[in-house]
């Protein structure tokens, strides 16, 4: 296990294919990230302009992503049927999504039959209300958490804190983020932006406030950091009466939930407490056990570059060992709206493996926080604007946070054509168009901010469609070429601040052709 995200985040304990998210005690400071949530974060270009200048962040991310990138490539190359697996994964997801109404009802029935209780949450507020109510009903004021993206997405820890309930993250990287009052910056390795020294400092400084303090004289050796976390967490596992989790998959036919992880913290949370509450996005449904076979191969290799992850926990209602009370909160929060979009819906295939983050050159330089949501990187750039709608300049900027290089699509184990969706969402930003918001079909207006750009584009489009006019423009550019400045003013600075302009030739190609070939058509 050791070599994986090692130096970066998870010292050695066992980072892994984690399923879904996080927690913070009331009144905890939040490092350099604004507030307790992602609300009000600046648009991507502004945030990224700051983070690209952070040398340490760049170095941490470069090392971590390049290491895992190479390992993933190796793990995938071992299977000669990878392409077929990938197509099968995409097909299973597409089929399930097409009949999601059917499978969700089947799932509800199966979970109920097995002794669980199913709750439906249309949005984050409703999901938070349900979970808070369930915890309150137990009389407990603490919960332990399995890493879960869905609970990050809805800001569950903050909501629980508001109700006087402390939520303890038990995934190592998630613990680092929580102790540091920080925000996660990666799906699988939320503390990827931290190195060992920083982690040691966070442990020393903050562990005591949350429970068992860091051992005297704690150093930054991975094994020592992992041991410190283990001791700190152990007392939480043994004390906890309530656990909150997400899930990687839900099997409709049997009502079985699946959590895939590497550290074993998930297994502890899923077995020791008396009450288990799982918050899961509705798109995590698969029809049958057989379908799991495909994903349990795709996920670990794409995610941690492992052939198989160390812990795969499965439970079906309250049958067998483990919690005696089980609640499943099915979360929509923008997913049905996303499903209504024929191009955008492929984002719902995502199994949160992080391969697209690890291979993304933009993520590597901008870092995860710039994406302003728990879903960073390429998948965040297409998921966040769809789940939230184009709610603010941040969401409007995300579809543009890509050079469209296509590396994400190439590695995605469920073949999500991320560049296609990015361009599709750009269209939504500048041209507006039909969309579904909170279940209602509507026509959204083009973003206001793009009015000037739209005028330029319209003029450009017209010129390009009138080659005679275009030719005059080219000639003018050529004739004045000695006068062109090296640095442009205004918006042109975005180019010339770091790059020279090309030298304009004496004549455009079409003039040469006309001259050389006597063709003036």
């Amino acid at each position: 296990m050791s070599g994986r995200q090692d130096r970066q985040t998870t010292p050695d304990a066992t980072p892994g294919t984690k399923p879904d998210t996080m927690t913070r005690p009331p009144g905890e400071p939040r490092g350099h990230s604004p507030g307790g949530t992602y609300l009000g974060m600046p648009a991507f270009p502004q945030a990224a302009a700051l983070s690209t200048r952070d040398g340490r962040l760049r170095a941490n991310l470069r090392h971590a992503t390049h290491t895992i990138r190479a390992k993933r490539a190796q793990a995938v190359a071992e299977l000669d049927d990878w392409d077929r697996l990938r197509r099968a994964g995409a097909a299973v997801k597409d089929r399930t999504l097409r009949h999601l109404d059917h499978y969700l009802l089947q799932l509800e029935e199966s979970v109920t039959r097995a002794g669980g209780t199913v709750h439906w949450a249309a949005d984050a507020a409703e999901a938070n209300r349900i979970v808070t109510g369930l915890v309150r009903a137990t009389g407990e004021t603490e919960v332990v958490k399995v890493k879960s993206m869905a609970t990050q997405e809805i800001g569950l820890n903050e909501a629980l804190a508001g109700a006087g309930i402390r939520a303890y993250e038990t995934d190592l990287a998630e613990l680092i983020v929580q102790l540091g009052g920080d925000l996660p910056s990666h799906i699988l390795v939320p503390a990827i932006h931290r190195n060992r020294g920083e982690i040691r400092d966070i442990f020393r400084e903050h562990m005591a406030r949350w429970g068992r303090p860091a051992p005297e004289g704690l150093g930054d050796r991975p094994a020592d950091l992992a041991e410190a976390a283990r001791l700190h967490l152990r007392e939480k596992f043994l004390r906890a009466k309530v656990a909150v989790s997400g899930a990687n998959f839900m099997v409709a036919e049997s009502g079985t939930l699946v959590v895939v992880e590497s550290e074993g913290n998930g297994r502890m949370c899923l077995t020791l407490p008396e009450t288990l509450i799982s918050v899961v996005g509705i798109e995590k449904t698969v029809p049958s056990w057989r379908d799991l076979e495909v994903f349990l191969q795709l996920l670990p290799r794409s995610s941690t570059a492992e052939r198989m992850n160390p812990y795969t926990s499965m439970w079906t209602g309250t049958s067998g060992d483990g919690p005696r009370s089980f609640h499943l909160v099915l979360l929509d929060n923008g997913r049905t709206d996303t499903l209504a979009d024929q191009v955008g819906r492929q984002a719902l295939r995502c199994i949160r493996c992080s391969a697209c983050l690890n291979v993304c050159p933009v993520y590597e330089r901008a870092g995860g926080h710039a994406y302003g949501s728990p879903y960073p990187g390429p998948i965040g750039a297409i998921l966040t604007p769809q789940l939230r709608g184009m709610a603010s300049p941040l969401e409007e900027s995300l579809p543009y946070a890509s050079s469209l290089c296509g590396a994400c699509f190439e590695v995605c184990p469920v073949a999500i054509d991320i560049p296609e969706v990015l361009v599709h969402l750009r269209e939504r930003v500048v041209e507006g168009g039909p969309a579904t918001l909170r279940g209602t079909r509507t026509v959204i207006k083009p973003a206001r901010k793009h009015t000037a750009e739209r005028a330029v584009i319209r003029a450009t489009g017209w010129t390009l469609d009138h080659p005679g006019v275009l030719r005059h423009g080219q000639r003018l550019l050529s004739r004045t070429r000695r006068l062109h400045p090296r640095r442009l003013p205004g918006p042109g600075r975005a180019w010339t601040d770091t790059r020279e302009l090309p030298t304009v030739p004496a004549e455009p190609f079409r003039d040469w052709w006309a001259r050389a070939r006597g063709d003036t058509a």
Binding site: P45, A49, V362, L404, F409, V423, D465, Q474, L477, F509
Partner: protein, 249 residues
């Protein structure tokens, strides 16, 4: 076989030498090249920024301009990818808005006959030795659209390996994007430049005198950074290398 040159708006305006090189090269290989004057831009910058409707007239124009040609050859991986990948998508969306007939026909016709230059040489003409002479050390950066959208694979390399006098240098992290990305370069200048600088450093580290690609738009960005950083490496389009012969300038 009637072959039309789609020179692209960037080459037309800023890099006419690349267009001239394609003409020289293809004619040397016995191919008659036509250049329909009513061609313009493929629409990629508009489409990729989100202006799908604004792109539609350019799709129709492209198909009209090259109507009478059997093949269209273009010295740009990303423009070829635009025509082959995005024209059909754009037409499908128009069809869903029930006004797709002309666009569907235009898109499928254009997509079926458009080739990026190295693809045309290797797949259609079946040559890898084009009789070129270029006595320089060169490194090759595979551009993203050429690599991932068109699947050019090792075609450009195979062509370069046959060029006399040319010494090819391996580029570290070759398959990583240079950071150009069209309007990305100005909408996210910080990240674009950071990517470009890393690419420029890798290029300079090869010790080559020239860096070549199948796309001048990426080269405009890479070259702009190389010269701002004072690197001695000069950008050159692969067409200009393949067109060069002994004795010629």
């Amino acid at each position: 076989m009637r072959v039309g040159l789609f020179v692209t708006c960037v080459n037309d305006t800023l890099y006419p030498r690349t267009g001239q090189a394609v003409v020289t090269l293809l004619e040397r290989l016995g191919v008659q090249v036509g250049f329909p004057m009513d061609q313009s831009c493929c629409g990629q910058p508009l489409f990729n920024t989100g202006y799908r409707h604004g792109t539609e007239p350019l799709v129709l124009r492209y198909a009209r301009a090259f109507r009478d040609y059997d093949h269209v050859v273009t010295p740009s991986g990303s423009c070829a990818a635009m025509v082959r990948e995005n024209y059909p998508r754009l037409a499908a969306k128009a069809a869903a808005e029930s006004r797709g007939e002309a666009l569907t026909e235009a898109a499928s016709d254009a997509a079926a006959k458009t080739y990026e230059l190295t693809e045309f040489l290797v797949d259609v003409l079946g040559v890898t030795d084009v009789g070129a002479y270029f006595p320089h050390t060169v490194t090759y950066h595979p551009t993203c659209h050429g690599l991932r959208s068109l699947g050019l694979g090792d075609r450009p390399r195979r062509l370069l390996e046959q060029v006399k006098g040319l010494e090819l240098r391996e580029l570290a992290g070759a398959e990583e994007c240079c950071g150009f990305g069209g309007t990305f370069a100005v909408k996210n200048p910080a990240v674009s430049s950071a990517m470009g600088r890393d690419k420029a450093h890798a290029i300079t580290a090869t010790g080559a005198h020239r860096v070549c690609t199948v796309d001048n738009s990426c080269l405009m960005h890479i070259g702009g950074i190389l010269s701002r950083e004072g690197s001695p490496v000069r950008p050159v389009h692969i067409a200009e290398i393949l067109a060069a012969t002994e004795g010629a300038r």
